[in-house]
């Protein structure tokens, strides 16, 4: 099967959508932009499903191992014989999986937005940006070259920026978009340096070759990168850590997560697409892509684990205290990505050891469905009540039955209740961590309970709790909103049954599905406890939550203020960078450097007026100067300087 005939269309169709709508949308397609964008994406989604079918079931596998196929590659910019940026298209299990996820979720969001964004002034722009994002994200996942991934990495960043700032006349949205971009940019800096180190030490930027060289402990490149050290740490560790920082920035891992909650200022479908299902998992994807290299350098893998676990727990705690539903979901996303990260971190390669890897990507896969479902549902809710705050909600189940059900499904899924998708993937992660590191397992288990608690806190607070009367409301929405919700709900229910290990594993070989009913008892019980607690506290309107939060006092307050990390950042940027670096730089430039330049002019002018007395207007003194000049010359040139 020749992929190249159509495969390029997958990323290019959204790009075409972007170009068409971006250039002409405003004037020609302002009404029809949604349909056009959706159609482009529909085709792309079908193509990627077809590709996935082809790859997984027809010709991806050779001798029981999934191959990476590169149907297309073009040298984009060559720096030297070895090092060049190529634009390529790689097909391997994870990229194909991501293709499907991205196009599918994006399609859902496109459809959902038809209703959600209707009547927006910049409707066509919105779809153009969605197209741009989808294109960039697809480009990212199909990258064959580490620099290609960096390019698309930046592009998704900018699309995210544009979409977060979509409501540009809201100052908070503007600030959020800025923050998101700058924080991730900071991480990208690390990524870039990591790329430079990896690329030059491996003498290639191509993923395949790079991984091959850096995992072969005989190769000169590997010896070079491991023996060279900087501050006593090997260059490989540096490089991988830096790359991971890049990934952590995009995936909102601690401590670079601060942008994600704020990013919820964007339109909710955008949050569903970018900040739940696709872009934020790019970090996971990146680590997965370079997994063999990470694996060979356990030090960096430990960092991945540590950051993942910490983020998972940390975010879950904060999520329990937030009252903005999108922020809760955002922290939940962060927490879930933490799961994926540490799952990668504890994984090995080959057979059972590779369970973490498979589990991580499996969770990525299922998470995409239920989290985007959650967001879309939340979007529907917000659309109805015109507020993000929990206090404005309550008892909505009678107004929006569909949303209610799908939200419940998603909550169950994320809490890891059988038979929803989240159950399967989470079980695998927990199992993998149980087998490799008990502490991680314990924390993960606790977090899982927290997850169930805060998700159901959300659920009960929105749909049960106090009965709010909405005097005027425009219903739950039309089909274009309901269809994506249903589809995603169905996926959430069924995706778990895919035996993911068959397709995606660290070494490309088949990995049997792991499902031990005995092992599952503990996590499910913990989750159920969490749900129960949430039900007790939030199903009916009562004073208990308030009482509990009061009794927790400082702890609650700290969590509510997100552990003051934002403030720390603000301090660093405002006080240190701006006041201690920027302001002095500007001051020095204006007063010292420019001052010197002006000073030269000033000194010249003052010398000029200081010596004006020579020209006294007295002819006799002129003659005296004349004579003195002669005498001086005579002394100097006759006697001193011959």
């Amino acid at each position: 099967m020749n992929y190249s005939q159509y495969i390029l269309l997958i990323p290019l169709l959204p790009l075409a959508g972007f170009l068409v709508l971006g250039l002409f949308g405003k004037s020609y397609f302002n009404k029809s932009a949604g349909i056009i964008g959706t159609l482009f994406l529909l085709v792309a989604a079908i193509l990627s499903l077809y590709t996935a079918y082809n790859y997984f079931f027809i010709d991806g596998k050779v001798n029981g191992v999934y191959q990476s196929i590169i149907p297309f590659k073009y040298t984009w910019l060559s720096f030297s014989e070895n090092i060049s940026i190529d634009m390529g298209f790689v097909l391997d299990p994870i990229s194909v999986m991501m293709l499907v996820v991205v196009t599918f979720v994006s399609l859902m969001v496109h459809i959902f937005s038809l209703w959600y964004m209707k009547g927006e002034e910049r409707f066509s722009t919105y779809y153009a940006f969605l197209g741009l994002f989808t294109f960039s994200m697809l480009g990212l996942v199909i990258s064959t070259n580490i620099f290609q991934i960096y390019m698309f990495w930046e592009l998704v960043g900018v699309s995210s920026y544009l979409l977060i700032g979509f409501y540009y006349d809201k100052p908070s949205a503007v600030a959020a978009s800025k923050k998101a971009f700058i924080v991730t940019r900071f991480a990208d800096l690390a990524f870039l340096i990591g790329i430079l180190i990896l690329g030059f030490q491996a003498e290639t930027l191509d993923f395949g070759t790079l991984i091959q060289r850096l995992t072969d402990i005989q190769s000169s490149q590997f010896i070079g990168i491991t023996t060279a050290s900087f501050f006593g740490v090997s260059l490989l560790t540096w490089a991988l850590t830096l790359v991971f920082i890049g990934g952590a920035g995009k995936s909102a891992m601690l401590p670079l997560h601060i942008w994600l909650p704020d990013a919820m200022e964007g339109p909710t479908p955008v949050s569903a697409l970018i900040h739940a299902a696709t872009m934020v998992v790019a970090g996971v994807y990146l680590v997965a892509r370079l997994f063999p290299v990470f694996h060979i350098n356990q030090a960096s893998l430990h960092i991945v684990t540590f950051v993942g676990v910490a983020s998972a727990l940390f975010a879950a705690i904060i999520a329990c205290t937030q009252t903005d539903i999108k922020r809760v979901l955002a922290y939940s996303t962060m927490s879930q990505i933490g799961y994926m990260m540490f799952s990668l971190g504890i994984s090995g390669i080959g057979g059972e050891n590779g369970l973490g890897y498979t589990a991580s990507l499996f969770h990525l896969f299922t998470h995409a469905f239920f989290k985007s479902l959650l967001f879309l549902a939340a979007g529907a809710v917000i659309h109805l009540v015109h507020s993000n705050e929990l206090k404005d909600m309550g008892g909505l189940k009678r107004y929006m039955p569909v949303t209610h059900i799908v939200f419940l499904v998603a909550c169950l899924a994320i809490s890891g209740i059988f038979p929803f998708a989240g159950f399967f993937s989470k079980e695998e992660i927990l199992l993998a961590s149980y087998e490799s590191n008990k502490i991680v397992y314990a924390i993960a288990l606790f977090t899982s309970g927290l997850t169930a608690f805060y998700m159901f806190r959300l659920y009960f607070s929105i749909f049960w709790n106090k009965q709010k009367d909405l005097h005027s409301h425009h219903g739950e929405g039309n089909m274009s909103m309901k269809i994506p919700l249903w589809i995603l709900a169905v996926c959430t229910c069924t995706a778990g049954f895919i035996s993911f290990g068959k397709y995606v594993s660290a070494d490309g070989k088949e990995l049997a599905s792991h499902f031990h009913i005995l092992f599952s008892i503990v996590p499910v019980t913990v989750s159920l406890l969490g749900i129960l607690l949430a039900m007790l506290l939030y199903k009916k309107e009562n004073g208990k939550p308030q009482a509990i939060s009061n009794s927790l006092g400082g702890l609650y307050k700290t969590a509510y203020h997100k552990f003051y990390i934002d403030e720390v950042y603000l301090f660093i940027t405002k006080k240190i960078i701006f006041n201690l670096v920027g302001r002095p730089a500007a001051w020095i430039d204006k007063n010292i450097i420019d001052g010197i330049m002006n000073g030269i002019a000033g000194v010249t002018a003052s010398i000029s007026s200081a010596i004006k007395g020579i020209q006294s207007g007295k002819v006799q003194s002129y003659a005296l100067y004349f004579f003195a000049g002669i005498i001086a010359m005579a002394i100097v040139f006759v006697y001193l300087w011959k």
Partner: protein, 104 residues
């Protein structure tokens, strides 16, 4: 007959030169300043004559030069005095310190 040594005469001419210089620098009367310049020129004349007579007696270069200097000094004085007269018309004075309007 004992000739006067050349150094004596040169001493005189040099003295004359500096006297003229001094006069030029210190006199406030413009006519006196002109006279001082004449002194300088005369010292030069003496120089020429002396050099010619003592060192290069076979040619008359120096003597001729002297004659020309005398003539030109006269011309110079004529023009300068004319200018001074005009200046007197404009300033009602021939004090050199009156003519210091332009400076710096």
């Amino acid at each position: 007959m004992n000739e006067i040594p050349i150094s004596h005469i040169l001493f005189v001419s040099t003295a004359l030169f500096f006297i003229g210089m001094y006069g030029l620098f210190t006199r406030r009367n413009m006519i006196t300043m002109l006279m001082a310049i004449e002194l300088i020129l005369n010292s030069v004349n003496i120089n020429f004559v002396v050099f010619n007579k003592y060192l290069y007696p076979d040619k008359l270069d120096g003597i001729f030069f002297t004659i020309f200097i005398i003539a030109i000094a006269a011309a110079e004085a004529a023009v300068a005095i004319a200018i001074i007269i005009n200046l007197y018309r404009n300033h009602q004075s021939i004090d050199v310190e009156e003519a210091e309007e332009m400076k710096f």
